[in-house]
Every structure is written in C-alpha cells, then in structure tokens.
Point group: C2
Chain length 233, copies 2
DNA sequence: CGGTGTTTTGACGTCGGTCAATATGTGTGG
DNA sequence: CCACACATATTGACCGACGTCAAAACACCG
C-alpha cells in the first residue's frame, strides 16, 4: 500500500510470499501487463460467493475475510487473507463459481490478474504449478486444523486461540494492542458462535486479566493465562 | 479388490478418478514399476499423524478415515477416502510429516507409490501438476464446507447430514441399508461430538421413523424427514 | 443533538458433555 | 457349542455451555 501507483510485478515484494515467485521474467512481464490494481475500502466486497471469477486477486496490502453464508443466514469466516495471498485461485483452477465471499476488513490494495494469464503459466511452467500446489497444500492443512478445532474445542478455547492467531499473524503495536481490529461479530463468525456468546467470553477474559481493551483495540496481557484456556484449563 | 495380484497401472480403472489420469504412458510405466500393492485389514493403520511418508497411497478398494488427534485425546475424522483417492499427497508435496492418520474402515487394497516417482512427474509434466492441483482445490472446497457446517450447524443437523453423505458417497444395498458401516464412535468423530450424544440422536431418529437399523446396518427410511432436520426444522 | 450501529448485560431454556450403570454383541479358547 | 473376556451400544441423571430474545449502555456520524 506504499502508494496507489501500479508497480511492475517484477519488483513487487509481495510476490515473494506466493506462487508467483516461481514465474519466469517473461511470465512476470505478461502478468504485469495484464493486471490491474484496485483499492478496496474497509467493508467493501471483493467478490461474492457464487460469482464466476475472471481472474485472481493478489493482496498487496490490508486484510480480507473469506466467508461463506450458511443456511441459517450467518456468515462463517473460513480464513483471513493478508499481504501476499492470492484470492480466488481455487475457483479459477477448477473453473467453477467461487464458494466463498471475500470482504475487506481493512483498507486494501489488490491486483487483479486475469484468469488466462494464470492458466497459461500453469500449463506451461511446471515450477509454477508445483509452487501453487504447495500453497494449496498448505491451505488444506490449515483447513484440516480448523476442522479439528471446530469439532473438538469449546467456544471459549476457540476464542482464546483466535487472539493468539491474530497476534501471530497480524502483530501488535508497541503497547501490545492487536493491529488487526475485528468486530465482535467477526470474531464470533471466525469461531462459529453467536455474537453475544463471544462478547460474554471476551468480558470474562478481561475480568480474569487475560485481555484488556481500549476503544476498539484489544491486547493480550496474560499470555500464559490465555494459553491455559486454549489448552482446556 | 478383485484380486490381490498387482496390476499394471496402465490398466487400472481407479486411475481415472485421480490425478494419475494425466500421466503419460511412459510415466505410468514408471509408476507401475515402482509401486507396491498392499492389503490393509479393517481397523489397521496405513500411516499415523506425524510420520514422514516415503510416498503416497492410491486406494484401489475399501474405505479409510483420515483423522487427527486433538488435545483432549479424541480423534476428529476429517475425511473419508475411497476408491481412486490418493492419500498422503499433501505431505509429499510440501515435504512435511503427515498431519493426519489414515486408518482402514473396511478391508482395503492400496498401492504405495514412492515419493520420487510422483515428484519427478510433478516437475516435468505440467498436466499432471495441474490435475493434482484440481484435485487439491476440490478437497479444499470440501474442507471449507465442513468448516461452515461445524461452525454453524447443531450436532443433530450434522449427524443427519452425515447419513446423507454416507448414502451419496458409498451407496446402499437393495434393502436401503448403507453399505459403509461406521461405528457410533466413528460417526461421533466425524461430526465432532461425544459418542453418547451421537447414539442418543440416532435413537431419536429411529423413534421418529427417519432411520431403521438391523444389526450394525443403518437405513434411511424417511428421506424428507431427515432432510428437514438437516435444514433445521 | 438525535439517529444508527455496536457492545454489554440479564434472563431463560435447550443442547450437548460427562459419569455411571446396564445391555448386547463378538471373538477366543476350551 | 459353551463360557468368559472385552468391545460396542444404549439409557439415565446431572450440569455446565451456548443460543436466543430483549433491553440498556455506549460509541460514532452527520
């Protein structure tokens, strides 16, 4: 997000984090030429579940939530994607409509890369395909872990874990406040519970001294206490 | 499982269901030469979580459960894999220890294919890599769906859904009994609940006339009633 | 300053987990 | 084929976890 000016992919640092690192100079040039850069405001949608995507979105900055509406009308957040991650690759590869919606949780900067560009490289450059396979394999493992947590842990454990996740993946400021600010509802949708339950548990954590808040910001102050909650004590 | 005699992969029908379909004749020959066929008895383990796999396992017949132990000591079944599916590819691709255990739910016949054979083709044949990518993308989508179900549906809904899943994926005999017989504990571990809760809900379903049982066999007799449960009525 | 959306709190009922006791198989060796 | 040992299935009782409805306390914004 340094600036809003489209950069050449060849020099984009973000690329180091995703499968585009396996592209040749020539391929990157083609991506650079075909891509378009977009600013997405906090709360805005990048794409919605059921849409047919014409390409993928490479996240240059900001955070997005990938969610799916369930029959009861509530969103389940499946994943938070940040700098370097590529959104929509699954749908492009299997050539189906998306199964997830992507929404900005932050102000974001994303690059749209047309499907054809990706598919071409995929078919001609095994390194790129394998690199993408590696990333997908990683996502799959993470999804498996989430399934296990959802199946075996209580809501309280999952909320505690969510805070560690936020800290590990998005960091905290000098005063220990988490950099990524999610609404209580979003947190509830990550762990799969009702907003009120989520709120109640968070205030319990505050009362017990595991967390503190200031405005919308949250900080972990008793790491060990919270860790015990995750482990079921 | 027609017989226990190793077959040539070139003629193996199972291959049509997985990424090996994208292999060249030459590649298939190499797979055929390097593979070994194994019979696995019901209840036996194919590999355990944390192991380093030296290759992948292609399922020729039977069903296996892929599960992960959670901190509280209970298994969560993440997926049931059947004829045509390849076990362990994720770990082989990212070159990590497995995150899941694979256990036979049925008597099984599997072919072990050494890592090198797979990796070689992956690096040289983009079609194969892309085909594997497609399968992995499909798995990922399924995992996302599971996450949503776990987060948003009640245990009762998930159990009802599990029966539809068993019917759709493994079929039923002429009398409507599900072909794949899972223990109550396994069902509980699929949906992420206690065995007793699972049992209680199944007997409720029987009482309401949605299911009937005979010995270990279970049949869906009121499809619509059960469907209403899944949808939350 | 009122209006709108988020956070918090209360009350209440159901869902689901745990412990424990009892059936019902199921397999093994005699 | 029986008897015993052991796994699996079933049921009851109890209680804490969680979802839901509602109302109040705050925040933020034009």
């Amino acid at each position: 997000m340094e600036d809003g000016i489209p950069t050449r992919c060849e020099q984009c640092i973000v690329r180091q984090f995703n499968s585009l690192r396996a592209m040749s100079k020539e391929e990157l040039r083609r991506v650079s030429e075909s891509k378009t850069t977009k600013l997405v405001k906090k709360g805005d949608s990048i794409f919605k579940e059921g849409e047919k995507l014409k390409g993928v979105y490479c996240v240059r900055g900001g955070v997005s939530k990938l969610s799916k509406l369930s029959a009861n009308g509530k969103d389940q957040i499946v994943k938070l994607a940040t700098k370097g991650e590529v959104l929509g690759q699954r749908s492009v590869i299997v050539d189906e409509n998306t199964n997830l919606s992507a929404t900005a949780v932050d102000d974001m900067e994303v690059c749209f890369i047309p499907k054809e560009t990706i598919v071409n490289s995929l078919n001609s450059n095994p390194d790129f395909a394998v690199e993408m396979l590696r990333h997908m394999a990683h996502d799959l493992k993470e999804a498996d872990d989430v399934i296990v947590n959802m199946g075996q842990k209580t809501v309280k454990q999952r909320i505690a874990e969510a805070f560690f996740y936020l800290k590990a993946n998005f960091g905290e400021d000098k005063d220990g406040f988490l950099l990524l600010k999610l609404s209580r509802e979003d947190i509830a949708n990550v762990v799969g519970t009702a907003t009120e339950s989520c709120i109640r548990i968070i205030s319990e954590f505050k009362k017990k001294g595991y967390l503190k808040t200031s405005g919308k910001k949250v900080a972990i102050i008793d790491e060990e206490g919270l860790r015990n909650v995750v482990d079921g004590f």
